[in-house]
């Protein structure tokens, strides 16, 4: 914590580095014994209080997996995780470029955060409903949703299951346990608690898992979620993806004097874990722990995924305006794909050649899918969404006043 003045003064936090500075993150260098022990998932909440301040890690930088939290994943499962992350990244790259070519209005990448979504999804059941933000496309890829349908959504074309109603990336895939993404930050957190309460009410053992960026924890909905999850012991996982940035605002604006986002849950008596979000195995292990706890009636867990947003906030953003250009590289937690790759190589289940081949394969596969998707139209081509669909799904049935508006609209065509 910064030293205090001896007089009350308006204090405004600032990030350590701005464009032009040479970023140096040695102060958050990563200690080997940082990882707290793994308690029983049905432990008392206060047994995880220290977890909120530490950082659960499994993957060492040398590729080794070590400690209490090493999950039981087969090489095949890990290879699937690796591939899902690589597909996610390949898709992000492709879509970003296509946006630059005017094929869609907007896009948001998740580079650097792929482990958070993919490993998390892998540790859940497919019927556990996730309440994502716009940076958890990895959940859909892992769960096997149609990438073409995802792309068509971004292109707002004839293949868009949402018929052009929503901006790119705000997917909805009920059958893949992926709740309709809202453009309003934070709102999904408390909705997930309601979903989880309904599961509990029905005596089902399904759970809900909600995501928010660290920036959006400042919304009231985050507070509601912590509070209601605590009161009704709802079977939910509340995930804070702390990727250090909220558009141009560094995490200190949302965190303030608070040491971690995980610690926000301590006062509510929730279980609280803080995990290296660039560590696929750690994310998996933490999620598995929290899912078991929720499913068995132990209540909610708040997980902070400590990671880094390697690219701009969205295609509308230029991060070099507010942070050093090389900050993503010097960020000390590495890259989630590289780290899982190294681990697989380390245990003899992967090699550089296979990796390079897979990278190329993902790229090609994404390119091919994209081509198919684009055949169904783009926003800049004649949009192939029938304009009249805009009147549908406001209500289950078209009320009288909307029928009248449809008629007025016809006159202008």
């Amino acid at each position: 914590m910064t030293k205090k003045s001896n007089q009350s003064r308006l204090y405004v936090p600032e990030p350590p580095f701005r464009p032009g500075d040479t970023p140096d993150y040695s102060h958050i260098a990563v200690p080997v014994d940082h990882t707290p022990p793994r308690p029983d998932p049905m432990c008392e909440d206060h047994e995880t209080a220290e977890h909120a301040l530490k950082l659960i890690r499994v993957l060492r930088f040398n590729g080794e997996a070590a400690g209490d939290w090493v999950p039981k994943l087969t090489p095949d499962q890990m290879r699937k995780g690796l591939r899902d992350m690589m597909m996610t990244r390949a898709m992000d790259d492709r879509m970003f470029n296509m946006q630059r070519q005017g094929k869609m209005s907007f896009y948001m990448k998740s580079r650097g955060e792929e482990a958070v979504s993919v490993a998390h999804a892998m540790a859940l059941r497919i019927d556990d409903m996730t309440f994502p933000t716009y940076r958890q496309q990895g959940i859909l890829i892992h769960r096997g949703a149609s990438i073409k349908e995802m792309m068509c959504q971004c292109l707002s074309n004839a293949g868009d299951r949402l018929q052009g109603k929503s901006i790119p990336v705000l997917y909805s895939f009920r059958d893949f346990g992926f709740f309709s993404v809202s453009g309003n930050l934070g709102t999904q957190m408390i909705q997930a608690v309601g979903w989880g309460m309904a599961e509990a009410y029905k005596n089902s053992d399904g759970i809900a898992s909600a995501f928010t960026g660290e920036g959006a924890t400042a919304e009231g909905d985050f507070h509601y979620a912590l509070n209601f999850a605590s009161t009704y012991r709802a079977p939910v996982i509340l995930n804070v993806v702390n990727n250090q940035w909220a558009i141009s605002s560094f995490q200190g604006i949302a965190a303030g004097e608070g040491e971690t986002f995980a610690a926000r849950g301590t006062g509510f008596g929730l279980a609280t874990l803080r995990v290296d979000g660039n560590d696929f195995l750690a994310v998996y292990a933490a999620t598995e722990w929290a899912a078991e706890r929720a499913r068995r009636g132990g209540g909610a867990t708040l997980i902070e995924h400590f990671t880094y947003r390697k690219e701009g906030h969205s295609t509308s953003d230029d991060p070099s305006k507010y942070r050093p250009e090389n900050e993503p590289e010097v960020w000390p937690f590495g890259d989630p794909i590289d780290r899982l790759k190294l681990h697989l190589i380390h245990i003899g289940e992967w090699d550089e050649d296979r990796h390079a081949a897979q990278e190329e394969a993902c790229k090609v596969e994404i390119r091919n899918i994209y081509k198919e998707a684009e055949k169904m139209g783009t926003l800049s081509s004649d949009t192939q969404v029938n304009d009249f669909t805009m009147f549908e799904q406001v209500y289950e049935e078209l009320p009288g006043h909307l029928k009248a508006q449809v008629e007025v609209f016809k006159e202008e065509l």
Partner: protein, 338 residues
């Protein structure tokens, strides 16, 4: 058939639906063991169990938020907001989320929830227990906003609301809970026991939203009202000696504009009443729609009689409330007598 006041009718609707459908849950501040500050849920926890009717933290945003999650997951939540004046912390969840979930997911998810909340003045509640915020909700596409004026409608419309597959805001004019209120606080209250609309059928029945209820058939002018103002309209029309077509709108969105315009085309004159603040109140929309539909039948300007463009004051409650005098002045204006 039983004689019920409006609170009892509301409670009965909840009871009927809770009995019929185990997906119906009831929750809100103080609604559980205690049964709600207006007693609308009294006895429901005892009868249906702790899990069916329970207290929530004081967090209107949280209440609506969990209702959305539950509704999307197949339940039929009925949330109470203790006073409509306190609904604003939940405004984002209502307007941005509940109302738009179906649209943004193109029908994949929806939020069939009901929010009940007491509105209106007449109990010396001051700025924060008297508001009528209906117009802030009729502007929201995807939401339905309804308001009964009597026990019979209250029960039937609440059942309709719970069964509706879209989110419904169900406004309860608190001054009518015990009996019709004719606008004069100094005459003794009448009770629903003495009014035919206090006759409430047992069991399940529904009252459709988009269906204006005609209180009185008349030729001189049309009076459009809802909630408490329906009864003030009746009293004022009588006192003014006019023969008014008095329409109780029941539902504001969707609106039964057909019945409304038929009436105005017949009478050629239209008076619109509401308790809410005038500017951008729902009366504005009614005025615009009536003029659009009936311009060539109108013999005089439409008149709006409303609350003032001030917060609802405490001591000056009856000076704020659009009581019989203000309504009669309005009638005179519409009739061209002033």
């Amino acid at each position: 058939m039983a004689r019920m006041n409006m609170i009892e009718a509301i409670r009965d609707a909840l009871d009927v639906k809770m009995t019929e459908d185990s997906n119906v849950l009831v929750f809100g501040e103080d609604v559980g063991y205690f049964g709600g500050v207006f007693r609308a849920t009294a006895g429901l926890q005892e009868k249906h169990g702790l899990h069916r009717c329970f207290d929530t933290p004081i967090s209107e945003g949280g209440i609506v938020g969990i209702a959305i999650g539950m509704a999307a997951n197949g339940l039929r939540p009925v949330a109470e907001i203790q006073f409509a004046d306190y609904i604003y912390p939940g405004y984002d969840q209502i307007a941005s989320e509940a109302a738009r979930l179906r649209y943004r997911s193109n029908g994949e998810f929806s939020a069939p929830l009901t929010i009940r909340t007491p509105v209106g003045g007449g109990i010396y509640g001051g700025t924060t227990h008297s508001q009528s915020p209906e117009a802030l909700f009729t502007h929201i596409a995807g939401l339905k906003t309804v308001i009964p004026s009597n026990p019979y409608d209250a029960k039937g419309m609440l059942i309709t609301a719970i069964e509706d597959n879209d989110p419904v805001l169900f406004l309860e004019p608190k001054r009518l809970y015990n009996g019709p209120f004719y606008g004069d606080p100094h005459t003794p209250s009448v009770s629903w026991a003495k009014h035919e609309l206090g006759e409430v059928p047992e069991g399940h029945y529904t009252v459709p939203f988009e269906s204006v209820r005609k209180l009185k058939e008349g030729e001189d002018l049309t009076i459009l009202a809802y909630g408490t103002m329906v009864w003030v309209a009746e009293a004022a029309a009588k006192e003014a000696g006019v023969n008014a077509d008095i329409l109780d709108l029941r539902s504001l969105l969707p609106l039964d504009i057909k019945a409304i315009s038929e009436s105005v085309k017949k009478t050629g004159r239209c008076l619109i009443l509401h308790e809410a603040t005038r500017t951008s109140g729902f009366g504005a929309e009614l005025s615009a729609q009536v003029a659009e539909a009936c311009f060539f039948s109108l013999e005089a300007p439409i008149v709006r009689v409303t609350g003032w463009d001030t917060p609802y004051p405490h001591a000056q409650e009856w000076a704020y409330f659009p009581g019989p005098k203000r309504v009669i002045n309005g009638i005179r204006k519409v009739m061209g007598q002033a």
